[in-house]
């Protein structure tokens, strides 16, 4: 197959749209929760200001090579995930760099940032960072289990590893979505989704009250700004993957924005309703509830 060079600027355009959408959406979600608490909340552009501020700090210190590479790996995970998943179905412009085996690559990219962060935070030498990383890896690994099972289930169901073909198979009405053709796989995947969004009840990794913010404790100025950039991109990229696999994809940008927002809000709603899990509780919860659902999903497929 001939590689078309025009795809590079086009996927950068997707990146630009998703980045701004992520910055504004996370601020918007914070704004909603502020209004619920009868506060005004942050200005909607606050995320941009924070990021400019962090890039503008004059001094920064380093703890070694991996300390540099940690945020870079994390950002690579976010951007990679976004670029190898088609964001708009049926659109030549925004199919990004998707190819026939992209599902496998996408699963890899979901985990990639966490690993990079673990190496970088480990090198920072701060005990809180080490505790945070241990917790994070344990939790993310178990939450990946139901997700992997769900992905196997739909790969079996649609007999393909291409995300574009999976989205194509779900077209023609809500009833064709994986959500309704294989609800167990979707339930397992949504459990995994909650686990990887760093919101309560699964935010013990960051735990601002006991181990001040965990892995990024030592990160500052432009390192932190890189991670903030990833904070805007990565959750959206992950949500896009879920939207494509389970909720019928999106055929234009308004539908894309709406679906991503709604799927993102699932984790927000669960977060405000339930208190925080300890790590052993969350691991047990993933294994007891996520794993059987994933296996049921495979059997249905």
């Amino acid at each position: 197959m001939q590689f078309e060079w025009i795809k590079i600027p086009l996927s950068l355009m997707t990146l630009f749209i998703v980045f701004n959408y992520g910055m504004l959406m996370t601020a918007f979600v914070q704004k909603i929760s502020a209004r619920i608490g009868r506060r005004h909340g942050i200005p909607i552009y606050q995320n941009y200001v924070d990021m400019i501020k962090n890039y503008a700090l004059r001094s920064s210190i380093t703890h070694g090579v991996m300390f540099y590479l940690g945020p870079v790996f994390r950002l690579t995970g976010g951007i990679g995930l976004l670029l190898f998943v088609p964001s708009i179905y049926g659109s030549e412009l925004f199919s990004n760099l998707s190819f026939s085996g992209d599902l496998i690559l996408a699963i890899y990219f979901v985990f990639f940032g966490t690993l990079g962060m673990a190496l970088g935070a480990g090198e920072s030498g701060h005990p809180y960072a080490a505790i945070g990383v241990t917790r994070g890896l344990a939790q993310v690994t178990t939450s990946e289990l139901p997700f992997a099972l769900a992905v196997f289930a739909i790969a079996l169901q649609y007999q393909t590893l291409s995300i574009t073909e999976i989205v194509a198979a779900q077209q023609g009405g809500v009833a064709n979505w994986t959500l309704f053709t294989n609800p167990f796989a979707v339930a397992a995947a949504m459990i995994a989704f909650l686990g990887s969004m760093m919101r309560p009840p699964f935010d013990v990794v960051l735990a601002p009250q006991e181990i001040p913010i965990g892995p990024p404790t030592e990160y500052h100025s432009s390192y932190l700004a890189l991670m903030q950039t990833n904070r805007a991109i990565f959750p959206i990229a992950k949500t896009v993957l879920f939207m494509n696999l389970f909720f019928g994809g999106a055929s234009n940008w308004p539908v894309f924005f709406l679906k991503v927002f709604l799927i993102y809000m699932v984790s927000v709603f669960v977060g405000v309703a339930f208190p925080r899990f300890r790590v052993e509780q969350s691991i047990r919860w993933f294994l007891i509830w996520g794993l059987p659902l994933g296996i049921l999903g495979i059997m249905m497929a």
Partner: protein, 217 residues
């Protein structure tokens, strides 16, 4: 080097997991001794102006309360005062914080921790002295173990008077600090670097069990 230094800070020989023995000097190996340097914004004026605006609109407070004023910092985040709308956030680690609020009296023991935390913050950084105790000792003016003038030990950008100031006063102070930063006057970190010797001498005059390097990070 201090005679009665803590046991864990003395030079010792450690045997590694591979059987190799090596010497560890905690003060030199675990900390950096390079003194801070004056950092100027090497940008054109308009970029520096943009950065100053961003610094003013995004103030991250270090979650470190020293005296009774610590209790006045908490309500800022509550619905009644809602400091978030001014771009103010709490931050649990000094690495990411820009503003250090010395909230009330400062005992010598706490001063040591304050200096360490302050030095871990990144340039540019700001200090607010909250309450009379940071200005002239306040009601602790004749106490043997509190410092009287904060400005002798850290470069203070702004004082807020009162004993204790209400959260409204603190919020007004933060907004005043924002206008200072926007005008490019929030250069406390550079002042500290420039007069480093003087600040260190003052700090060492009151802290008798000085068992840390002169500059931590």
């Amino acid at each position: 080097m201090n005679k009665d230094m803590k046991e864990e800070l003395k030079i010792r020989t450690v045997k590694g997991p591979d059987g190799l023995e090596f010497e560890v000097e905690p003060l030199r190996d675990y900390y950096c001794e390079a003194a801070p340097t004056v950092q100027t914004g090497a940008y054109t004026a308009i970029v520096e102006k943009l950065f100053n605006w961003a610094r003013a609109e995004s103030i991250w407070i270090l979650g470190f309360g020293t005296g009774c004023g610590a209790i006045e910092m908490r309500p800022l985040m509550s619905p009644r005062f809602d400091a978030y709308r001014y771009g103010v956030q709490g931050r649990p680690t000094p690495r990411q914080a820009n503003l250090f609020i010395i909230s009330g009296y400062l005992s010598v023991k706490t001063l040591k921790r304050v200096i360490r935390s302050y030095e871990q913050m990144q340039n540019p950084k700001y200090v607010i002295g909250l309450g009379s105790c940071t200005i002239n000792g306040g009601m602790y003016f004749d106490s043997y173990n509190t410092i009287k003038r904060l400005d002798d030990y850290l470069p203070v950008d702004l004082y807020i008077t009162g004993c204790m100031p209400r959260p409204e006063a603190l919020l007004a102070g933060v907004i005043e600090l924002k206008s200072l930063i926007r005008a490019g006057k929030g250069e406390g970190a550079n002042l500290y670097a420039k007069n480093f010797e003087w600040y260190k001498a003052n700090q060492k005059r009151v802290i008798h069990d000085w068992d840390m390097p002169d500059y931590n990070w």
